[in-house]
Amino acid sequence: MSTAQYDSNGKIKLTSMVKTSGCAAKLPPAKLHSVIDNLPLMSSENLIEGFESADDALVYRVTDDIVSVQTVDFFPPMVDDPYTFGQVAAANALSDVYAMGGTPSVAMNLMCFPSCLDLDVMKEILTGGIDKVREAGAVIAGGHTIEDPTPKYGLCVTGFMKVTDVWSNKGAREGDAIVLTKALGCGIINTAVKAEMAEEESCRACVDSMTRLNRKARDLAVNYTIHAATDVTGFSLAGHGSEVAQASGLTVEIETDRLPVLPGALQYARYGLLPAGRYTNEDFLFGKVSFDEKISQEMKDLVFDPQTSGGLLLFMPEKEAEEYVEKYMEQTGLDCCKIIGRCKEKGDFLIKFV
């Protein structure tokens, strides 16, 4: 951890205070599992999804047909601007509720803040969070702040929904098309930004993507037959895709030439501007992932790249997927939502890249 740096206008550069950032700061999955796999599993008849299923949020029955969907997510900054950081952290935390097919109702702030920083910086971070929560149609009701040399921010989010409407990560079926709603590569671009080697266009596209709520993607998807869903975050496309494959008992096949990619990401990957999480993700998935010979090193980097506030990964019938992608483009004007692969009969690998 270094002391804070400021740009030529005297504005704080938040990422100068952190070692790892965004979802790339997640504890490596192998380390995490070595601990939680040995903890006693708590159960309750009302707990429908707990952490054994590696789902995005817990699902707890409130009445016969209504459940609460709860999640918590926070991390150190991956961008320098405090307001943008607040937006990204909030969009990322809210996403877990969207990934369950729900809508967030209420959120609480989690803030770690260095005593050496001006309190205006905290205000900007929190304002970024408030603005995203408002855009999501939810409210922030309190939170918790502690002093910490490395700034961190995020939300604890709760949504309520019908139990029959919950998307889990275990219902994918053979033949399902797989839709990804945001482009990949923000872990790589954030690393390039930190190295001061990223171009303006890449930075802008990356920030646009990270601050975008998955609300639209979810709201549109509820009109279709969603067999399984998750969001792509720190464990990468390969990691989150294989979680669904594992939970659903099949093999996920991704066509790499269909993957939406943020501008510049593959080029920065070639120059070794890769977050450490890219390597721990690959290690964790050793033996579970296969690559066609033709696939480039940069493409491998992309599928192991930890995403911050990534898109939804939706598993649905092919015909509906085609219509969904078309409608998404029509309604948002964005071309980052693509059919990226299909579900196949269970094979030797959880996920195959072809």
Binding site: T191, G272, L273, L274
Partner: protein, 68 residues
């Protein structure tokens, strides 16, 4: 061979320091790193800059030799 010490540094700083050290296009450079991500990333950067890359294990990490 000129050496730069990137022990204790996490990504992307080892790549940034390597880039600085390669600014005048030297014929060779050695970079010392102590974590896998830095080893891979500096090797990748060296290759992308047109160097032949050799990685040697050393006490507590790796020595990455870049040669033209």
């Amino acid at each position: 061979m000129k050496e730069i010490d990137c022990f204790g540094l996490s990504c992307p700083i080892p790549v940034v320091n390597t880039k600085k050290a390669l600014k005048d296009n030297p014929k060779e450079l050695a970079v010392l790193v102590d974590n896998v991500a830095a080893k891979e990333n500096v090797s990748r950067f060296g290759k992308a800059m047109g160097y032949n890359v050799e990685v040697l294990e050393i006490d507590g990490g790796w020595k990455i030799q870049l040669k033209k």
